[in-house]
Amino acid sequence: MGGPSHPPAIAFRLLRWFCQEHWIEEIEGDLIEYYELYRAKHPGWKVKIFFWFHLISLIRPYNIRKRQNSIPFSMYQAQLRFAWRYLVRHRSQTLTNLLSLSIGVASFLILFIYVDGELSYDRFHDDADLIYRVPVDFLVDGERIPDATVPPALNKALKENLPQVAAATRLFPGWGSKFSVRVNEQHAFVETEVLRVDPEFFDVFGFHLLSQSDPSPLSDPSSVILTERTAKKYFGEENPLGRELIFEGMDPERRTVTGIIENVPFNSHFTFDILLKLHNTSRNLDEDWGWYNYYQYIKVKERADVSSLDEQMQEVYDEFNTREQEDEEKNIVYAQSLGDIHLTSQLKWELGDNNNLMTIRIITLLGIFILLISLINYVNLTSAQLLSRVKEVGVRKSFGARGTSLIAQFLFESILLTIIAIATGAGIAQLIFELSPDLFGRNIYLVDQIGTLGILSLVVVLVAFLATIRPAMRFSSLGKGPLRSRTGLLNTQNLLLVVQFTASSIIIVGTLVVLNQMSFFREADKGFNSQLLVIENARTIQQQDALLDELLALPSIEAAGYTSGLPGVLNWTTMIGYPNAFQMSYALIGPSYLEAAGFQLLAGRNFREGNESDMSEMHFIINEAAAKALDFDHNDLGVSIPIATDGDSIQYGKVLGVVKNFHFTDFKTKIKPFAFFYRPGQRQNLVLNVQSSNMHQALSAIEGIWDSFSNGIPATNYFLERKFDQLHVREARLSRILTILCILSLFLSFTGMLGIVNFLIRRRLKEIALRKALGASLLQVVQYFTKNFLVLVLIGNGIGLPLAYAAMNEWLDDFSYRIPLSPMYFGIALLATLALAALLVGTRSVVTTRTNLIDRLREE
């Protein structure tokens, strides 16, 4: 994390809203000072909780803003007082009701805001529906291999030959490389989010320039556009326009800041900190049809006919693509609507971490489900409660209360309770947003979601209204017929319990499966040592070998080596194989890398340091998957075999060794062919196997040596394990959301059942007393009550578990390497729900039965 943290802005908004003008300044000052004072002493979340505590303690009658229209308030004062008294007198029921409803509201809000954020991707551009991306499907042996990148020449061809196109731009990202940007003698920064684009970028996308020194700020190859955030990082409060930046190792090196652009919002499918003009001195990009490395975006004219856009683009591609031969299979280009990319596109080389619609749908359903359960909970508990107020109604009526005022009173109570519940729920949701910002990958303030909150409140209050109006109306006509509690009500309650336990068992199984699959990622043998320290800007070092030798002399470093690519990070691919070509990922390494990263050599040998032949063209070490794809057997080790076709000629190569298969992408993907080549020259990554009891000391020793070689550029390092966790960041997020939902749904079931059990037992006190008087034992009475509930739990599980099996099987099928669906998960879900029900009903009935039941029989 790091960086300065500020007191939550929403707190100050709240303060300004409730507090009289007169007090605001000093209170704000004290709060800010408090926050600064304690931030140094406590972890952030703790300070935030204290902060909120103090803020809330500051809401006092004397400083609350007096509002003009307080007349309606006084009109309802009497009702408010009655309602308050009733709610406080029955505080356990009130609390049950309140908790269940506010948890429902909180969960719904959290899930809804998450889903809303996911659905909002890329909609912030002006005319977002006119923007398209143009990806390509490669045709290989009749198979379509989708890919997000196209050749750079397509841009010009589309712009000049398609009448619908209003503007077009190419995007060329950093591809994971590190850019060293020097601001002055002392300060250099390492940047990754550098995007190279055409000047028309601003005609296609709706990113707003905040200031610019030139009407077309990207017209020159030496111009730089920074986001607001980056400009602040480089220059602080000074004016960044016209300032010079040195991009070390790039052509041109000296560049001038010509524009400041707003920060890229979280809901953009690509992100950047720095924009440069796309330009290449060595080749003419507008004529290059061979280099599939560019992202192509177009904006069509308003009301343009896009019905045949795909066909027209294909025609242009076929006509101008000089590289495609007549008889060869032709690649297929098509338009992809900008708004669909984040949720539906899963091409090779996506620019961001795209989500899928299925997860979104699941989460939406869960949100609605939980809200529904808590609403039904509320309906049932409220109507059950109303039935026990017959006496109160009688007294009120005999004192002359009219029907309408009775109804109004009940409605008032109900709506008061729901409003408190909504406020509490919103509070809980905001607290969760505050405490775990990484749960959603962004900061969320409920004040900004006022519309959502309003609609949700409306729905909840409406349900509360409907839940109360019917029983209340029956009361108001009391006396015209006998009032009976209908058995229908109980059936609804039973149905609800079944629904709750169905949901609970599904969610329990789901959580267990996701959590186990997640720990499987972490603990499974990846085929190499992932506990590695990686320095990812080793390319900036001139004397890489000397650095390596000095580092190896450190006692804490077991082994070290250089490589171009890393498992879990980016690797390049090439087409290889004879007679059938296949796609193979590869890395350029130094010999010591294999040992440092702990790859297991199954056959053959490692590269020899400084051996010229090992460095030559097609001598390599492969993994088992590549051996299989090459149809390689161990007799071929070190022997020249046909490796690839280059036009008409066959290329030969030597396999020096075979390493055990290892996971170099996520666990969703099967392990694919991989090869290592030994090449001299500067490599991107320095990999260190650090074994030390004092990691901190070891790291500073490494840093010391690095600094003597690096010319002032700081080492950017990370542990490889973390990159692997990042590959599964969506699953990790899902598992965290599911864990929370699991606890919440159990809690909801608990409160719902508690309410109904209490109600049932209270109604049947006399029955219990009679049974006991006639000689029933404690155990019999408990059994009598528990049995019914356990049957409901069993029915719930009977419906839920098969559904959970089907759903989780489908989810796991997405992974090539997955855990088996053990019966244990289902057993745990069944036992947990059964135990919960037995415990709850059991203890309630024991407590009731143990009281002196003669008192109950004597009543009235």
Binding site: W23, E25, E26, I27, E28, G29, D30, L31, I32, E33, Y34, L37, F53, H54, I56, S57, L58, I59, R60, Y62, N63
Partner: protein
């Protein structure tokens, strides 16, 4: 004289205001109470009590000059008024007087509470 009685917390607060003068403002007072008396009180409680005492006329307050600290917000600095000082002295005198009148015997005979039996 009814109405001039100070609550325990109010008295503590006024003493702290006097001790911190001229830098007695909300947060500083809270922190002093925390450090000296070991009592962690909510900022709201301090703020409310200070305003109550000001209304009673025991404290006076004015806004400080703005500084760059605290996000540029001014502090409200409190000070004892003449009547505040008189009330404090009165409270102390009453206590000293009562302490002086305690007979040694009552210390020796001190009960540890009493039960019904």
């Amino acid at each position: 004289m009814k109405g001039t009685n100070l609550g325990e917390f109010e008295e503590l607060l006024m003493l702290v205001v006097a001790a911190l003068y001229p830098q007695a403002y909300g947060l500083a007072i809270r922190e002093a109470i925390k450090d000296k008396a070991g009592r962690s009180v909510a900022m709201g409680a301090v703020h409310a009590a200070l305003n109550r005492l000001e209304k009673k006329g025991y404290l006076s307050s004015q806004l400080d000059e703005a500084t760059h600290a605290r996000g540029g917000r001014r502090k409200r600095l409190f000070a004892l008024t003449v009547s505040g000082k008189a009330t404090l002295i009165q409270a102390r005198d009453l206590r000293t007087q009562l302490w002086g009148s305690i007979d040694q015997l009552s210390w020796d005979q001190m009960n540890f509470g009493y039960g019904r039996t």
